[in-house]
């Protein structure tokens, strides 16, 4: 078996996971976690991240002294020795799932008279559509698979709609045209008109985000458009936190596939970081446990995710992935989520557990922290599974009822693990996340329940060991298909290496070719994406940070 563990990266990196409940941060020196902290997420995000960074810097020198110092460390201010900060966040998925912080979007579909009976938002859950759906405009235009226009693009109607958007104060527009991955010209013309007529609105074009499959591509475009304001605000909060902590290193956001993107680029594509939380926790679990094939359970404050590691990588969902009930074609880890976490609300008689959670208010509202709300954490303390807060505040709970609650939680976890399993035999289960104490030490179908060091901050570790990618999306002419793909792969690999990947660790995650019948000479559009571990001593892609 190829050793897929991260290469011997010597860089000092900070990984941060901003979850719904906790903000975790770790400092990695090469392969060593030299400091790890966990703080509550704050409503403004910034102060939570700032506090996590401050805590990390405070605890760091002690941790670092256990390891041989790296060449940069010395006696310098620890903040200046950091070479990169990687943040993973579930903020954007949570916004969609919980229907908050979303911007109303004007949808422009170009393709009439085709596809008329299934307008934008067609298969969205009503409550989400009601929040996001603004003006819906369907226009004549779009292309055939062979590059001919379906009918000429109705630029005059686009201009009229754009003027209306301006009048109505529309701030975000999503544009999707039929067959735009083959010919983006209608979307580009629409963008030009929108820039002229309503320059203050943000515009998301579908061909930048998706592939063939109009509805799924349009859905992703609409989701991206409704998250842009939140993404900008959140990214700036991260940047502010870094600045306040005196860290000058470039800021990256982690993506669905475990790679990173510079924050200022990533803020225009919030949908790309939808699944970064689970991806980071799975990769963090693999890194910390040195396992390549196992199930992983991540028990957070609000939810529990169960996934599978195969050959060191999260098993991906195969086909259609729904986000907040919306159908997409994202590549995401294949996960089972249940509404169970350390912050889950519990009533003992009659017994009920979750799915509602106190979230980041755990340290204010739960019983052991002086509050009045009974949570799974309180039950854990009462049952002696962990020592947290003031255990006297749960001493009054009847032992039999506590035991029953613990058993119920164990049964919920056992069932979830069983559903994720795809093989008959017993498999190891790696436990990570702040709520790990809820996982019983023995489970049916599980050969061993594996705890790992730093398990409570596996997400942040996963962010810190994020990979870099190289991508190519290019038209090749007059080449046999195999040769065109091989050339594309070579270009993508070179780009990944330039971006900081170690060549030996590169693997291909996506290959797609699309014959372009309307261009001469056997034209083929080839997309290849490769990812690899961050290599020794390499700078990530030029840190063109905003001044």
């Amino acid at each position: 078996m190829i050793d897929r563990r991260p290469a011997k990266a010597l860089r000092r990196r900070i990984g941060i996971d901003v979850g719904g409940t906790n903000t975790d941060a770790v400092l990695l020196d090469g392969e060593h976690v030299v400091a790890a902290v966990k703080t509550p997420t704050t409503a403004d995000v910034t102060s939570g991240v700032t506090r996590a960074l401050a805590d990390l810097m405070r605890t760091q020198p002690r941790g670092a002294s256990r390891r041989p110092p790296t060449e940069h460390a010395g006696l310098a201010d620890p903040a200046t020795t950091i070479s990169a900060v990687m943040i993973g966040t579930t903020h954007f998925t949570n916004a969609v799932v919980q229907r908050r912080g979303l911007t109303r979007v004007a949808a422009v579909r170009i393709g009439l008279p085709a596809s008329a009976s299934l307008p934008p938002f067609v298969d969205w859950p009503d409550d989400l559509a009601d929040l996001v759906r603004g003006d819906v405009v369907m226009l004549e235009g779009g292309h055939e698979y062979d590059g001919r226009p379906i009918v000429p693009f109705d630029a005059a109607a686009m201009r009229a709609a754009a003027r209306r958007f301006r009048r109505d104060g529309v701030t975000s527009v999503a544009v999707a045209s039929v067959f735009s991955p083959l010919d983006p010209s209608c979307e580009e013309q629409a963008a030009t008109i929108l820039a002229e007529e309503c320059p203050d609105a943000s515009v998301t074009l579908s061909h930048r985000l998706g592939r063939i499959g109009l509805l799924e591509r349009e859905n992703v475009t609409l989701l991206n458009a409704c998250l842009l304001d939140l993404a900008r605000k959140t990214t700036r909060a991260f940047t502010d936190a870094l600045r306040a902590s005196g860290i000058a290193a470039p800021l990256y956001l982690t993506q669905n596939d475990g790679t990173v993107m510079l924050a200022e680029v990533a803020e225009a594509y919030p949908v790309y970081s939808f699944a970064s939380g689970p991806t980071n926790s799975m990769r963090g679990a693999a890194f910390l446990s040195r396992s390549t094939d196992a199930l992983v359970i991540d028990v957070g404050g609000t939810t529990t995710d169960v996934g599978a590691l195969r050959h060191g990588f999260p098993r991906e969902a195969n086909n259609v992935v729904e986000v907040g009930g919306v159908r997409t074609l994202f590549r995401m880890p294949d996960l089972l989520s249940l509404g169970l976490g350390g912050g889950s609300l519990v009533t003992l008689d009659p017994l009920s557990i979750g799915p509602v959670s106190v979230g980041y208010r755990l340290t204010a509202e739960s019983r052991v922290f002086g509050g009045t709300t009974l949570t799974a954490t309180d039950v854990g303390v009462a049952a002696g599974l962990l020592d947290l807060g003031d255990r006297r505040r749960v001493a009054d709970l009847p032992a039999a009822l506590v035991r029953r609650a613990v058993e119920r939680i164990g049964a919920m976890i056992e069932e979830a693990v069983d559903r994720v399993k795809t093989e008959a035999g017993d498999v190891p289960l790696i436990v990570v996340g702040g709520g790990a104490f809820l996982v019983p030490s023995r489970l049916a179908g599980v050969s061993s329940v594996v705890g790992v060091e730093h398990q409570a901050v596996a997400n942040a570790v996963g962010a810190a060991i994020a990979q870099v990618s190289g991508e190519v999306d290019q038209i090749f002419q007059a080449l046999p298909r195999e040769e065109a793909i091989a050339r594309a792969r070579a270009i993508a690999e070179d780009r990944a290496v330039t971006a900081g990947a170690e060549r030996a660790t590169l693997r291909t995650v996506e290959v797609e070719d699309l014959p372009l019948a309307y261009l001469p000479g056997n034209s083929l559009r080839v997309r290849v994406r490769v990812v690899g571990e961050i290599g020794d001593d390499v700078r990530l892609d030029a840190p063109a940070r905003r001044a």
Partner: protein, 360 residues
Amino acid sequence: MAPPRDVTAAELESLAIGAWILGTGGGGSPYLALLNMRRLYRHGVVVQLMDAMDLADDDLVAIVSNMGAPLVGQERLTDPRTIERAVRMMEDYLGRRFRAVMSLEIGGGNSIQPFMAAAMLGLPVVDGDCMGRAFPEAQMTSFAIHDLPMYPLTLADVRDNAVIVARAESWKWMERLSRTACVAVGSIAGTCKAPRTGKEVKECGILYTTTKAIRLGQAVQAARREHRDPVQAVIDAERGLRLFAGKVQDVARRATEGFLRGTATLEGLDADRGHTFRLAFQNEFAVGWLDETVRVTTPDLICVLDTVSGDAVGTETLRYGQRVTVVALPAAPVLLTPKGLEHVGPRAFGYDLDFTSVFS
């Protein structure tokens, strides 16, 4: 004589799952047709399903299908008004009204096209089709195998384009003429094939495949609900065979001459590790090779299923990295006759191979 019965919205959901499996990769994703039906049902439409045996011999039945390359259907989304226009055009041309609508092929989205037409026209749907699966070409039907007349045919586009093929010398000519029109309008069109009498449907149709597809979908749904293996549920429901489990390693496809053609290569996983499986398709999967040896050919149904969910994977939705299981299901008996094999055996797809069923 049983009266036609209402088809529930839940049965349409099951039909979409089952028909996608019977589509053997083609027939277009039923999802988009299903979305149209959900919208129609939400507006109070209910479509009825009838037993072919309840047709009078001289009743006239519309055989409908959305024709073209499945990839195109992912962008130019199916619209009930297109198929409605094709059927109305046929009624006007014939000067007669249809008694019911029936599917050309039960595989894929074309299992739901007759429901879309029926919803718009207020007619019942006949429980059956003329392929028992999906096939790419006009002459690959039980009606063609029985040498029934192949014309007239009507074809409607979303624009104001419509074509009537008044006569054709043979089924192959009908395929050629209608395919040319289909390619001209963008490789997707609503078609009403040669009308059938009640007698022809009863004698030459492949009956009860609509309810079969619904049952297959229900079996998959039940397995998922009960956390059983949905792929095994498909095999059990249809007495199928598991041929290969692997991961998609390469997909080469090309929309050409109104079809989606290409090959897919799977790399074995688990018990099949170290082996490869190659599939060739023309809209539907036609031949499968295990390590360069022919393992399965049309007309045995070659179904590629999502290993975890049991959902079918279409030739237009196969993607690098997907984990899939290849399953063979038995074909309708009429396709296995010498005459049937002339129409739908491997040679009909250009492969110089004798047909040996994996079930023989």
